[in-house]
């Protein structure tokens, strides 16, 4: 069986390898599922072959706010080809990703709260029959006053969307840390400014789809869906359908982008499952782009009032901020969003005193939710804009003012967030040098400018949404007779490359080639539970669990080899494809080590787990869990723009971005993620916004929802800064979100450098920019006429 004479069972000569070991971690590694995607072999939910599936279709409310008096489905049920018609009455419980805010039914019960809210659904043999059935359903909805802005919903006489929430405030946050008044008193300059941000959506390319199969005989349900959170979906299906979770299986196939749209279970997933159960078969529901905008869960329209105190040195002495978010009709992640906004607002810098008030407001618009950079993007724009404005007023360089506010780790922020590594200084140094900042900022020809901003983000929320006391991440490894290692993980690869990263991590620990490793992910019948792909938690948490699983497998294999070689484990040198007795040439091939281990126990299955250490889980005040993380990523970026002052058109010429990812396990993927984050920030900053006409989305398509095209895409130079976080897997931290937040403020700071106008609203669409330019001209003309008696407040676009 062996190539070598090993009759004594005590090993054989193993040649020492001349070449230095090749590391799997830190190597630029193409995604292990990349070939399937670029060749079109990858199958997404809507592509999966299920045979004769029924067609699921959803009827949506035409009314923005109203009481459901009746839903008559009798005519629809009687139509040919119709196999099931369901309403809210067919569900056992409402849902909501946050356990204390479960106030949404998959199909509305009692009330509808936004135009487009699902109210009934059908399963039929073909699309025509399904459409006919929808048309035959009669809705009796008595309208109530509807509110499409946070201000209207907060009005004194406003009807409550949800009975328990007075003033339509879903969550009010009131936090104060340190002596804020003393902080402002100690400042040499205090400035206050208001900002406004349009609502934005994810724009993920893959449309929503779900397939549910119900086996009547045994009462089992299998759901395939586009989710980022298969485990939360599993739990939610059990609640909403009143099923035992053990009868449910959830599979996440290839997913074409998430960005947060799919980090909570979505109504169509529960609807499809309920239709399958009602029809006793397989139902496939494919949604349109418009449906996606009605399902929404994007970044809320936000108003911010921010006040900063600053010393002449640039040091920040105090922060006072109020944020109002138009949350839409249901809870979703809303309370987390409003808490993130406050928690991450200032924690990028060592700020001694902070007051934060936040209001998450219920309105009759599609529910908002988590979107890449969750909660912190608009707040970052306000903060980095005001910082820039005050720096210029104090005649400080915008980079210098950020250097005047640097954290030295380990550090605990005033809101009890733990910082163990901090790459901002290195990030600033690089962008300053690479962009030619010193020679060019403030010195470019009119219409051309440079702007800078810093940002940060969590590497996973330190406490999971569903707190169960279990480890935060579990990875199983299976090793069998074939010598292949199978990683079994619940981690959702949604294009960010987590499966590749886990394979690299296991390969690194075991010193094995990637070819020996296979990843099976996100099938609840096979893989351990995972909380999902959100808050940039996967690399950090699941990566750490994978390291521990691989270490355990290595321990088992080394022990087996030691026994066979008749030495102590400590004497075995592990080199992956070989191992040997230290100081000798006597050893075993990997296959022999595996065979020896299997001879004792049969197929090997080992487990690794990881949890965030308690000191990283935040303080004890209300809402303290949000923002807490085991490791913060950091970034700085410089954006160069040109502005056409006659048309208001802004062109991004170049971006230099440095991102502190701790350690780049896969530099190729990290660079792509950083570029993607910058690019998505650019979309929000330049042109993306939703809009409503009496609660109907005005831009529910990719023509009017203006995601940038390749024409707008600038060169994005990425520098990876490695600060080696003590808790991260091999020192790694998140890389998919943190660089997003910096783009919008760097852009508007650059616009200010170019034309002297500071936009206090986003997006910087040409009409807004032109209006800001004209407003400034009007002010200047008036000032010239009246003799410079007008205030010098910055222009708000």
């Amino acid at each position: 069986m062996n190539r070598h004479d090993d009759t004594a069972g005590r090993g054989h000569p193993v040649a020492a390898s001349a070449a230095p070991r090749e590391h799997a971690a830190g190597r630029r590694t193409p995604l292990i599922d990349g070939v399937e995607k670029v060749t079109g072999r990858a199958r997404y939910t809507a592509d999966l072959p299920f045979g004769d599936a029924l067609v699921g279709r959803i009827l949506r409310s035409p009314i923005a706010h109203g009481v459901i008096r009746g839903i008559d489905t009798s005519k629809a049920r009687a139509l040919p080809g119709v196999r099931a018609v369901i309403t809210g009455a067919d569900f056992a419980a409402p849902y909501g990703v946050i356990p204390i805010a479960r106030n949404e039914w998959p199909l509305a019960r009692d009330k509808v709260r936004y135009r487009g809210e699902p109210v009934a659904a059908v399963a039929a043999v073909d699309p025509a029959a399904a459409e006919a059935a929808l048309a035959a359903i009669v809705l009796d909805i008595e309208p109530l006053p509807a509110y499409f802005s946070a201000a209207d919903a907060r009005g004194a006489d406003a009807v409550r969307l949800h009975e328990s929430k007075t003033g339509n405030i879903e969550r009010e946050v009131d936090q104060a840390f340190g002596d804020v008044d003393a902080g402002f008193a100690a400042a040499d300059l205090v400035r206050e400014q208001t900002f406004h941000y349009a609502e934005v959506a994810h724009g993920q390319i893959e449309l929503n789809a779900a397939v549910a199969q119900y086996e009547v005989e045994c009462g089992r349900l299998t759901t395939h869906s586009v989710t980022q959170v298969p485990y939360y979906l599993h739990l939610t299906l059990a609640w909403c359908l009143g099923m035992d979770a053990s009868r449910i299986r959830v599979v996440k196939p290839f997913v074409g982008g998430g960005f947060g749209h799919r980090v909570e279970p979505l109504n169509f997933e529960m609807i499809t499952a309920a239709l399958a159960r009602a029809a006793g078969g397989t139902v496939k529901t494919e949604l349109s782009r418009e449906d996606g905008f009605l399902t929404h869960r994007g970044r809320p329209e936000t108003g911010i009032r921010l006040k900063l105190g600053m010393r002449k040195s640039g040091e920040i002495t105090a922060v006072d901020c109020e944020i109002v978010q138009r949350g839409g009709a249901y809870g979703g992640y809303g309370l987390v969003t409003i808490l993130y906004a406050g928690a991450l607002l200032h924690a990028l810098y060592p700020v001694p005193a902070v007051r934060y008030r936040g209001y998450r407001v219920y309105t009759n618009t599609p529910p908002c939710g988590a979107m890449r950079g969750h909660g912190a993007v608009d707040a970052r724009h306000a903060f980095e804009s005001l910082l820039d404005m005050m720096a210029i007023e104090l005649r400080l360089d915008p980079i210098a003012v950020r250097r005047a506010n640097l954290i030295v780790p380990p550090y605990r922020t005033i809101n009890d967030l733990q910082v163990n590594s901090y790459g901002v200084p290195a990030c600033l140094d690089w962008v300053e040098e690479a962009s030619g900042w010193k020679a060019r900022h403030g010195r470019l020809p009119r219409g051309r400018g440079l702007g800078v901003a810093c940002s940060h983000y969590v590497s996973g929320s330190a406490k999971p949404v569903h707190w169960s006391g279990e480890p935060h991440a579990v990875v199983n490894l299976k090793l069998d007779f074939d010598g292949g290692i199978t990683i079994l993980t619940g981690a959702s690869d949604i294009g960010q490359g987590s499966s590749t990263l886990l394979a690299q991590v296991v390969a690194e620990v075991l010193a094995l080639p990637l070819a020996r490793i296979r990843v099976i992910a996100t099938d609840s019948a096979l893989t351990p539970k995972d909380n999902g792909a959100y808050s940039s938690r996967v690399s950090f948490m699941v990566g750490n669990a994978a390291i521990r699983a691989a270490q355990e497998l290595k321990r088992v294999l080394v022990a087996a080899a030691a026994k066979r070689l008749d030495v102590d484990s400590a004497e075995v040198e592990w080199e992956g494809e070989h191992c040997r007795v230290a100081g000798t040439d006597r050893g075993l091939d990997f296959a022999e080590a595996v065979a020896t281990a299997l001879a004792e126990s049969g197929t090997l299955t080992v487990k690794g787990t990881w949890s965030t250490p308690p000191e990283t889980q935040g303080g004890s005040f209300r809402g303290a869990a949000v923002g807490a993380t085991a490791g913060f990523s950091y970034a700085a970026q410089v954006v160069e723009v040109s502005v056409d002052e006659e048309t208001g058109a802004v062109a991004v010429e170049h971006v230099w971005v440095a991102h502190d990812c701790g350690f780049a396990i896969n530099p190729l993927a990290v660079e792509g993620q950083v570029q993607g984050a910058v690019w998505m920030g650019m979309g929000q900053a330049l042109s993306e916004e939703t809009g409503y006409h009496e609660g109907l989305p005005l831009r529910p398509n990719m023509l009017d929802y203006r995601i940038p095209t390749i024409v707008e895409s600038p060169p994005i130079e990425v520098k990876l800064v490695e600060s080696h976080d003590p808790l991260g897997p091999f020192g790694a931290k998140e890389a998919s979100e943190g660089a997003l937040h910096g783009f919008p403020p760097a852009l508007t700071n650059a616009i200010c450098d170019a034309i002297g106008i500071r936009l206090a609203e986003l997006p910087a669409s040409p009409d807004r920019v032109l209006e800001a330019i004209r407003a400034k001209m009007r002010t200047e003309r008036l000032r010239a006429r009246t003799g410079a008696t007008l205030p010098t407040a910055p222009v708000e676009g």
Binding site: H693, P708, T709, V711, P766
Partner: protein, 333 residues
């Protein structure tokens, strides 16, 4: 998902056959690139029982040089218009306009005739059937209110084709064929100021060719388009211009706009600039002229005021650039 309704498809190979089919079935719709019609069918805006695919009609995509001018088949694709050196030489504005439409994929399918006959657009109209019904439908389709101007009696949907202003600036003619015969009319005659029925084309007529005369082909021309993104988007406003100079003074000037009205318009009053140099005073007057005649309404998600302002800026820029280019040419030769 928005499914295509059922339809019958015919694929004739001659214009005579096309005209015969249209005479017999006036509700039939012509299909060339399908880039405008198919999305409307998917959205339930149109459900023609019969589609007539005209891409197999012989000679339909020909470009001919005749009498020093050009005769362009209605089936010429936008990517051909954008790349063909004869077009670039004789009608730069047309080539530039073609290059700004949508993206490369759509341009390879979309045609000259289709772009000239593009349906008018409105944010209250280019939506799904559910959306339109929920909003109470509109004057352009199935309703009696124009949500853009609810007090008014007109549909304000805006024409947003990029090629029409280029060809209007070049004073082009179009050939329209029906079973009973052909007629040749100035392109401006193809349009009327009604967002709900902006084409004068009869339902049994097919637009077959576009003619640009030798004198137009000798003009300097160009097209400028305002939009939020550098690709994909329809024009928020588009401006085409064709001009000639005698010395430093304007000897010919035609300007046309798109995206701002229910039809593409030829700017009126430009005759007053003939004999004058292109200077700040002239450009200031031009700006006012554009601002007066462009009458964008709330048909797009971008404000009407911006579209009016930017149309004027683009017109000024284009005239200045074309004049400067002509002067450079003149001094070089």
């Amino acid at each position: 998902m928005e499914c295509m309704p059922d339809f019958e498809l015919k694929r004739p190979t001659s214009i005579a056959e096309v005209a015969a089919i249209l005479a017999e079935t006036p509700t039939a719709r012509l299909l060339a690139g399908g880039t405008d019609l198919v999305p409307r069918m998917r959205r339930g805006i149109e459900h023609p029982a019969l589609l007539v695919d005209i891409t197999a009609v012989l000679g339909f995509a020909d470009i001919e040089v005749a009498d020093g001018g050009l005769a362009l088949g209605a089936g010429v694709t936008l990517s051909t218009l954008a790349a063909d050196p004869r077009i670039a030489r004789a009608c730069a504005a047309l080539a530039e306009a073609a290059r700004t439409v949508a993206g490369p994929g759509l341009r390879s399918a979309a045609t000259l005739g289709g772009n000239l006959c593009l349906d008018t657009r409105c944010v209250f109209y280019n939506q799904s059937a559910w959306w339109r019904a929920t909003n109470g439908n509109c004057m352009k389709l199935g309703g009696d209110v124009c949500h853009v101007a609810p007090q008014g009696k007109h549909c304000h949907a805006a024409f947003a084709g990029d090629l029409a202003p280029a060809l209007l600036a070049l004073d082009a003619d179009v050939e329209l064929v029906a079973r009973g015969g052909a007629r040749r009319v100035p392109l401006a005659g193809l349009y009327r100021d009604d967002g709900a029925a902006h084409l004068t084309l009869a339902c049994d007529e097919v637009l077959t060719r576009v003619f640009v005369s030798e004198s137009s082909a000798s003009l300097a021309s160009g097209y400028r388009k305002a939009r939020a993104r550098g690709a994909i988007d329809f024009p928020l406003a588009g401006v085409a211009c064709a001009l000639a100079l005698r010395g430093t003074a304007l000897s010919a000037l035609r300007i046309a706009l798109t995206g701002t009205n229910s039809r593409p318009i030829v700017l009126e009053g430009t005759d007053a600039f003939i004999g004058r140099p292109v200077d700040d005073e002239m450009l200031g007057a031009l700006r006012k002229l554009v601002q007066r005649q462009a009458s964008p309404m709330r048909t797009t998600v971008t404000s009407a005021d911006y579209r009016r302002q930017v149309a004027a800026v683009l017109a000024q820029r284009l005239v200045r650039e074309l004049a400067a280019e002509r002067l450079r040419h003149a001094s070089a030769s």
